[in-house]
């Protein structure tokens, strides 16, 4: 049974990745899972300089999901290089760095700084709804998405995945724009903008009012968008949004995802990535699939 997949020239031993921001750099999961078994660790968003993030409350529960407004708190790229790359390199897994920024030059700075570093993939997060400064603005306008993609592509030494926002009228337009601008792959979906009000206190629960909705509630939207994007571009697609089980992962793969990422599920159960991997394997066994590649995008 062949589980290995290829994303923009980088071989992953299996299609199970972690979704950025739900796995830190993996340390918090070591007590439960063997990181060597992951196809790729996608680390939490890394910025050029340390970001403080948003004030609490940052988390609120919704039916079948959660909203977060972490605001990309992160200790910056220097810390990441010094601490997290060596730590992650203990494990036989791929490293993908999720890059965040407020301006094109901030994104570029991170990619530039990582150019000589030992990471396998870059993921450009142009879709986080949790910062006022604009990350998300890049994700909802095709020209802006293309501009940041091509600027980063110029300096990047690793293949560049662009992560799309689902908060758009036409996801294929953005996908085509970043493909045209030189992206090597596309990942989606990031969170949907949502909010919850505390009716007793009569105020928003999150300090930032709105935040990003994730979890199984959003899976049907994610599956639809992954399918649309897979139809629209030639790039490899990484699918995510509400994956809880191996069966969910297969749904994304059939829709056109070469690899998939587990996000919120890992927060609810630190062993989720392993369960998803085992679920994928047992689906392949049960249905007699020799090579996972034979499933990618076969539902038209």
């Amino acid at each position: 049974m062949k589980l290995a997949v290829n994303i923009a020239g980088v071989e992953l031993k299996n299609p199970v990745m972690t979704a950025s921001g739900t796995f830190g750099s993996g340390r918090d999961f070591e007590p439960w899972i063997d990181l060597n078994r992951l196809g790729c660790v996608v680390v939490k968003g890394v910025a050029a300089t340390p970001w403080a993030g948003n004030p609490p409350p940052r988390i609120v529960e919704t039916w079948g999901g959660m909203i977060n407004s972490v605001g990309l708190q992160n200790p910056g790229v220097e810390y990441f290089i010094a601490e997290d790359i060596p730590w992650l390199r203990q494990f036989d897994t791929r490293i993908c760095v999720n890059i965040v920024g407020r301006t094109v030059s901030e994104y570029v700075a991170v990619a530039e700084r990582l150019a000589g570093e030992d990471v396998d993939l870059l993921e450009l997060n142009i879709s986080c709804p949790n910062i006022k400064e604009g990350g998300v603005a890049f994700g909802v306008q095709a020209e802006a998405a293309a501009a940041v993609t091509s600027a980063v592509k110029k300096v990047a030494r690793q293949p560049l995945i662009v992560k799309l926002s689902p908060n758009v009228s036409d996801i294929t337009e953005i996908a085509r724009a970043v493909e045209g601008a030189g992206a090597d792959g596309i990942s989606l979906i990031n969170t949907l903008l949502g909010s919850r009000i505390d009716i007793w206190k009569r105020k928003f629960i999150l300090s930032m009012k709105h935040g990003g909705l994730s979890g199984p509630a959003i899976k049907p939207i994610a599956v639809r968008m992954v399918w649309q994007v897979a139809q629209a571009v030639k790039l490899p697609v990484i699918g995510m949004g509400g994956i809880m089980t191996g069966e969910d992962a297969i749904e994304f793969i059939l829709a056109g995802a070469t690899a998939i990422a587990v996000g919120t599920a890992s927060l609810l159960n630190p062993e989720a990535t392993m369960q998803v991997l085992e679920g994928v394997e047992s689906y392949m066994r049960e249905t007699g699939v020799e090579d996972i590649a034979d499933l990618v995008g076969i539902v038209k």
Binding site: G21, D28, A52, G53, P56, R58, I59, E61, M66, L267
Partner: protein
């Protein structure tokens, strides 16, 4: 290599009963595969309602040989659901998590100060402190009805304040501390934010080193989501950094916590 831990575990419910208005004690069979919790740590409990996926963090109230006692208030839909769970049934649990209280130092006189459902963690704490030779004053504030007082009395002198004045001192715990002129070599507190802020100020004024156990909404409970942060005083531009209540806390030195 870090030590391996057991994942989400369905624990047997031995008892689940109301002990005060809207306050329940649930006793769980503690599975051997799980780490043994210490005072000030918490566990994640999960709902059966699959619309409600996030953990409900609940502090360790008391741990016997193989039984975990938790005391929870019915606050919202999730804790209301817990009240329907029956002895003999199962509840999903992950943990224990958090740093717990630091019990280091030469035994002396300790002040334990709690408000509302900040009281449960005081039980295991009091037990551990007493075992280490500390003398304890436990000061508990409630809205109108006390609970866990019997358990706490085993380990120290219990002082009760109620907002309504229906039991003990009429007022809040800070007023009671002053009123009874209590003092000690160290202080431990758990309760709502405003109370902890008051305790912080009080302890600082008295020069008593204090540990505060904080609460925040959690996405995971084990450090992964960076959702549960609180402001910790730091010598940087903004004067603070965000630290995780679930992993860096829930217990922080009082002097480090920046309340708004």
């Amino acid at each position: 290599m870090v030590e391996k831990r057991a994942g989400r575990t369905a624990c047997k419910i031995l008892q689940n009963r109301q002990i005060a208005d809207g306050i329940f004690e649930i006793v769980l069979q503690w599975p051997k595969i799980l780490h043994r919790p210490i005072a000030g740590q918490f566990v994640n409990l999960y709902c059966s309602h699959k619309g409600r996926l996030l953990p409900r963090p609940i502090s360790v109230c008391e741990i016997d040989e193989d039984k975990l006692h938790l005391v929870y208030a019915v606050l919202g839909k999730g804790t209301a659901e817990f009240t329907t769970f029956q002895a003999g049934g199962l509840i999903d649990l992950l943990g224990p998590f958090g740093n717990g209280f630091s019990l280091e130092g030469k035994p002396g006189r300790a002040l334990l100060v709690s408000g509302g459902v900040g009281t449960p963690p005081m039980v295991e704490l009091a037990k551990q402190l007493k075992a280490r030779g500390w003398e304890l004053d436990v000061v508990c504030g409630f809205r109108s009805q006390s609970y866990l007082v019997e358990q706490l009395s085993r380990y120290g002198t219990v002082h009760i304040a109620t907002d309504s004045g229906t039991e003990g001192f009429s007022g809040n715990v800070i007023e009671l501390l002053d009123h009874e002129a209590l003092s000690g070599d160290t202080l431990f507190a758990c309760g709502p934010g405003p109370m902890l802020k008051g305790v912080q100020t009080w302890a600082k004024a008295k020069g008593i080193p204090a540990q505060l156990s904080l609460e925040e909404r959690m996405g995971c409970g084990f450090g992964a989501c960076v959702g549960c942060v609180t402001k910790i005083i730091t010598d940087n531009e903004s004067g603070f950094i965000y630290k995780k209540v679930c992993k860096d806390g829930p217990v922080f030195p009082a002097a480090e916590v920046l309340f708004q």
